[in-house]
Symmetry: none
Subunit: 217 residues, 4 copies
DNA sequence: TATGAATGAGACTTCATTCAT
DNA sequence: TATGAATGAAGTCTCATTCAT
């Protein structure tokens, strides 16, 4: 079983973007600086300097500083998230998971890997959500309903087989994200996400989730 | 059993601060604006305007804009968190919890109430952690070790009685925070934390935690 | 008969404006630079430098560069023009003009003096009209209808006495402005308005207008 | 009697210019934009976009932005004005005007038609005169002396015949331009020059001028 | 203590112009 | 000839901070 190679999605997006090397450099540098110092805490002159580019070049392509942010987040929101979601979900359909442990372990590992690979975008996204909760509301709704429909169906098969507690899908997903987040969030915030032992974290998280979500006979 | 009245800690801090009414107004307004728009996204002139105060007054007491931030977060970090922690822990000591459910339900409700009451400070804190992960590192360490020592002792009694799984305290706390966070974080981010049904959320969270953390005979 | 002292209207407006000396200096300098080099051709840094003021000060009071323009033109449009118009028209009512020559000479001299005194504002206004014909349309309509009502009544008395040709007021005013403008416009554009011999210009213009507007017996 | 077809002078100049279609497009677009928004208010990138041309192309032929301005105004100043002037003056010489009315009517209509046809160039010219009164001084002198010599001679014949008041040519031309301008300027500024009823305007203007300039017996 | 005018560094952005392709 | 990415100087504007009143 192969983990989808989500790490390269940002780079792949760059390559397909028809942006020049300099403009790609602007995006890469902006991703790092926005994640490190926040959007407001990053100046366009610093972006230009670190990208080895004139300040005019920064604006030639992206028009405004917000344009850079959009260029970073839109592919992530419009393509990466749904794509990765679909990607993993189609794989899920094709696979036979005999027990909850195998299924949970797969999903947790997949999502955790994705989160680590895109931790910078996630960090930036969190900041934007704080700065502008309205703008993000629609995005959240879209994502949630998508996950409910797809992931929820997988869960239903386990409920039908009597090996998953019969709680609302929303509640189960809540614990999924909460438990996964309890490993990812601290690691990302401290900036040591790369040192996270994914295998161990996944098996621990899976163990706890399976306990908590197995029906009591 | 009385829930500690954490909602008023900020206000109480203000009253005890010997600040003039205008300077208290500056702090209140800053708390709201920093939480809404971020520290960098808030200008001192806007603080002054909303506080009904001149621009000079903002700096008279707090010296710098960072000084305002410190005046908001330091009481929260230095007093409020430990105080509330201690407060709740001393109460815990005095109480007899016969089963895990009663204990977890109490703790979760206490912490969730606290988080909701201080959601703005938490929001600001998250932003600062993103902007400056180093500065916060020490704080995290301090808090964690404190919780480990105090909360961990309570957990040990349950482990000894064989009604709590024998995992490291750190791991159990991780799931505590993760599950509690799965209710609080979305509510706070969306800005609808006040509409959260705390009773229902706590009993749900407790139910799941108890399932996941009860030893399998 | 005393010519109204229109030269000091701008200065008087400044004094009544509650602006600090520095901000008044910004306005004075802006008036000169906008008139000399055009609005677009004048930079705020040059305004600041010539006004002996920091660039921040320029924006402290007037918010934007357009704000400076508004601060220059609004008093001119909202107060000066109507005021001067009313001023001269009430005087006209009180005066007895036996013949067309005396009346025309008075009016022409009054308006020509006013135009020379406010030549810079007029220059700026012309530029703005070119840049933004829509915005000015309403202003033109207001002024025209005002002049028609007031000046037109004076003209009517001369028509009734049979010493003024019975053309529409609008047409007569057209020639008034055209002939007066034929003296003022070149002088202002060349920048030698101060060398204009007002007495001679007025008597010449009056002579021509009286010839052209006297009924042919 | 044929009115010289001045409307096409700009187009004719373009055709004879050996400029490529793209470069002609640059000039046409620049003429419109400079007239609408002013020279300083028009960016070369906007010219390029509206002309359907790359930014580099704009500079390939005209070197600088001022070069575009020169390419627009120089033919107008160096060729169009004198040419049209000469053109009309040679025609005038060949024609016999029995009375002032016929002569004035012809001249006014000719010049008014010319002004309307070249209103955009005139608008641009006015802006440039405001921005740079020195540069234009020489041009004005040239034009004025030319008109004085040619138009002045025609006027002299009428003075000799005793049907034109014996004022200095300069003064008569002043009223000519003033009265003609009183029709043209408002129409051009408001942007409704095309709706101007030239026939009616000319006969009105002529009527007034003839009254004002006919000797009193 | 409180005010708010003043500051100047620096932010974002525009734009005329150049040059490799 | 034509393109458009790149430039960097300059423009408008913001903002934390100071200080005389």
């Amino acid at each position: 079983m192969e983990i989808s190679n989500v790490e390269t999605l940002f780079d792949k997006t760059l390559q397909e973007s028809k942006l020049t090397a300099k403009q790609q450099s602007v995006l890469k540098v902006s991703l790092n600086l926005f994640a490190e110092k926040g959007f407001d805490g990053t100046s366009t002159s610093e972006i230009a300097k670190q990208a080895g580019v004139s300040e005019g070049t920064v604006f030639k392509q992206f028009k405004t500083k917000d344009g850079i942010l959009a260029a970073l987040l839109n592919p992530f929101l419009d393509q990466v998230v749904p794509m990765a979601a679909t990607e993993f979900l189609t794989e899920v359909k094709d696979l036979r998971f005999d027990d909850l442990t195998a299924f949970f372990n797969y999903v947790i590992k997949d999502r955790m890997t994705f989160a680590i690979a895109n931790q910078k975008q996630l960090k930036i996204l969190v900041q934007e959500i704080i700065r502008n909760s309205d703008m993000i509301q629609s995005f959240v709704d879209k994502i949630v309903s998508r996950i409910l429909n797809t992931f929820g169906k997988s869960l239903q098969t386990f409920k039908d087989r009597g090996i998953l507690v019969d709680w609302p899908t929303e509640r189960i997903i809540r614990y999924f994200l909460g438990v996964a987040g309890s490993y990812i969030v601290p690691a990302v915030l401290i900036g040591k996400a790369d040192q996270l032992d994914i295998e161990k974290s996944c098996s621990e998280a899976t163990e706890f989730l399976v306990r908590g979500l197995t029906p009591i006979k």
